[in-house]
Chain length 141, copies 2
DNA sequence: ACAATAACGGATAAAATTGTCCTTAATTAT
DNA sequence: ATAATTAAGGACAATTTTATCCGTTATTGT
């Protein structure tokens, strides 16, 4: 469904949301530790999220990353990393597929895509952080 | 959502279902032409589908491929090429995620996965071939 | 039997994704 | 000021996925 990079990105964002109340900033090592991801690769994804204006970063001692101060949907994260494909392309990869000019599978999957887009666009990171803070939801293993 | 190979596989299966009534067997070139896919790569996917017992093949002149004589669901095709991942793994890639031990995104995505599995497991190739035969559904471009 | 045809299967190549390493730039605390 | 810290960014490496090539095997029609 999502690329590995996107899975990491979602975990990063959920994690940063869940800790932003406790500490000001989280560093790369904290983050990679919290979500059990390879540090160097995680750094690249963090860069993408900063460029996409989903995270703020600060360098130097006591630097790190922080979620920008506005509500962020899962869709924004997914699109920032994986692009529009999952959210809008034909499941058979046909460029010209549409309601007017549908591929054989179109009708069957349009409902699934709408369902997926609905969840992605109406679920905010703040909706998911709760369980992590309480400790009954997890981000690794 | 699906890998490229899986997209091709679905198109192959739908195509073969839509022509099986007209001709006995379709050859690699016919198939690759019908779905606009690279021939050599398509051959590899056809092999996988034969090994998965979704297709029968015959060599020699007038040889080719044919869908086995039983109803086949989209799920069988997807699992044959992409494995169980899409159908059963956690969207965040967490091995231990389950209803009892859910990741933060679990609840939001379990419904989508069920929806997807429902469509995949209850949609048969025969449900999709109609439009292609009539010519108002397409498999390339 | 023989030549032509078409799938099979192994090896290889190209591209994309995932992952690592190392230097630089910015910031902080001493 | 200086040293320590941390993100930024470029280059590179490994792996996976996608794609190609070519010789082999089975089958058919002549």
């Amino acid at each position: 469904m999502f690329s590995k990079a996107c899975e990491y990105a979602l975990k990063i964002m959920i994690y940063l949301c869940s800790v932003e109340e406790k500490a000001k900033l989280a560093g790369l090592k904290d983050i990679a530790g919290a979500i059990d991801s390879p540090e160097a690769f995680t750094a690249k994804i963090l860069q993408q999220l900063v460029r996409a204006n989903l995270l703020d970063s600060l360098r130097g001692p006591s630097g790190g990353f922080r979620v920008v101060q506005r509500p962020i949907t899962l869709q924004e994260v997914v699109v920032a990393i994986d692009g529009e494909r999952l959210v809008s392309s034909c499941v058979l990869g046909l460029k010209e597929c549409s309601g007017d000019h549908p591929c054989p599978a179109h009708d069957k999957f349009v409902a699934i895509r709408d369902h997926l887009n609905g969840v992605l666009s109406t679920t905010y990171l703040s909706d998911l952080k709760g369980g992590v803070i309480d400790g009954n939801r997890f981000l690794k293993i």
